[in-house]
């Protein structure tokens, strides 16, 4: 049996290989994305029917609804992304073949971030159509991205723990809630300020820096903890 020799992929290449696989599987079936988009559309429509807001309070309440919907959408997406590897114990094979748990974790976070970005576009689009809620600033893109990274990171950490322990996935939403409050409060405040059209950067900079720092802390801690968790779990 003659053999050929090829280069072992490094961490960076492995990361993209895993990420590509997750995105390909998701975009092919659209299973998670379609459920999330339908969930978002239904909830936004329900709020549109039941809440005839006055002009003064509309922006604040819409900002809260946007990010609460996003939080629950993110739970659906991250559960789907993580379950793919747990079904047939494919994740164990990845580790046997030498993938580092830290790289696996980061690939899961970024797959979730990319799919949730599509959900965010749909969410903001629906709010624009149904609530005439517009944020005429590019800053909202940065806010959406950094909140997305933070919540995706937390969901991935807790999603891995719950699915590996055969814990009911519903528990994920309960576990995630207290950790995501700092992100949600900050993002609601920033979105509300941005929607006023007369904001100055100094009003949102502190919250943005705080959210960005949370992202970094959770990303680094998540990668380290996932590595430790997979070793201890055995």
């Amino acid at each position: 049996m003659s053999k050929t020799v090829r280069k072992i992929p490094g961490d960076f290449e492995s990361f993209f290989h895993l990420l590509r696989k997750d995105l390909r599987l998701e975009l092919r079936s659209l299973s998670t994305l379609s459920i999330t988009v339908i969930f978002t559309a239904v909830v936004v429509s329900l709020f549109n029917i039941t809440f005839p807001f006055g002009v003064d309070e509309k922006n604040l309440i819409v900002s809260i609804i946007i990010w609460v919907i996003f939080l629950f959408s993110s739970l659906i997406v991250s559960s789907g992304i993580i379950d793919v590897d747990m079904k047939n114990k494919s994740v164990d094979l990845l580790f046997i073949l030498g993938i580092k748990p830290e790289i696996y974790f980061l690939s899961k976070v970024f797959a979730t971030v990319l799919i949730l970005s599509l959900v965010q576009i749909v969410t903001f689009g629906l709010f624009y159509i149904l609530f005439q809620f517009s944020v005429n600033s590019l800053w909202i893109v940065i806010v959406a991205l950094i909140v997305n990274v933070g919540i995706s990171t937390l969901n991935t950490i807790l999603g891995i723990v719950t699915s590996r322990n055969n814990v009911n996935q519903n528990l994920l939403s309960i576990l995630v809630l207290p950790f995501t409050l700092p992100f949600l409060m900050g993002s609601v405040e920033i979105t509300n300020i941005l929607s006023s059209n007369t904001f100055v950067l100094s009003e949102i900079s502190n919250s943005m820096i705080a959210i960005f720092c949370f992202d970094l802390i959770f990303l680094i801690l998540g990668a380290i903890l996932t590595g430790i968790y997979f070793k201890l779990e055995n």
Binding site: K7, P9, S29, N88, G98, N234
Partner: protein
């Protein structure tokens, strides 16, 4: 290549096996036999590092690659055999040549179902696709848990031929099975796990 000393494992206070000692050298096949629940699968999971022992040492030569095939083939259900193979073989440094690849695919009967999704395959076909990945990955130490279960007679004979070819290429194998006759015909040494339950 691999040496195991005084290995013990228990689950929830119930001993699975204890004081297990063995070694496997290059080109050897270690056969693991024993009744249901005797710890055959647990031992292979420990050797593959999916699971950890309670006590004991496992000494593995540096720079050797290990591969494992359990009861599940560990493939992604929504991907075809071809996609799974392309994905998982990316993480190893060597692969077999194109000619050997086609020969292997044919001998495992995978040619006609190569593009099928995993969820469309029978248990035996899924098992053979896992074996195909194992051979392509070309690891130095191969761990196979019940590789003959679910295979028809022709496939069993083909697998025995593949195992013999692997050992002639200096690959080492640890194989668990309940089919003692096959294990005895291919193994260099055999361990009966029933002797290590007490």
């Amino acid at each position: 290549m691999i040496s195991v000393n005084n290995l013990s494992k228990s689950y929830n206070g119930q001993r699975v096996f204890s004081s297990l000692n063995f070694s496997v050298n290059k080109g050897e096949v270690l056969g693991i036999i024993g009744g249901n629940g005797s710890g055959k699968s647990t031992l292979l999971k420990i050797l593959s590092k999916i699971s950890l022992p309670d006590s004991g040492d496992i000494l593995i030569s540096p720079d050797i690659s290990i591969d494992y095939l359990g009861h599940e083939n560990m493939f992604y259900e929504e991907m075809s055999i071809e996609e799974n193979i392309a994905f998982f073989t990316k993480f190893n440094s060597t692969s077999i040549s194109e000619e050997s690849n086609s020969k292997l695919k044919k001998s495992l009967g995978l040619e006609d179902i190569y593009m099928n999704k995993m969820y469309e395959l029978s248990y035996g076909q899924a098992k053979k696709s896992g074996l195909y990945r194992i051979v392509l990955n070309n690891a130095d130490l191969i761990l196979l848990d019940e590789p003959f279960s679910g295979l028809d007679k022709k496939s069993v004979n083909n697998l025995i031929a593949i195992i013999q070819e692997l050992t002639s290429n200096n690959k080492s194998l640890v194989i668990s099975s309940n089919i003692i006759e096959i294990i005895e015909s291919i193994a260099t040494t055999t361990i009966n796990m029933d002797n290590f339950n007490e």
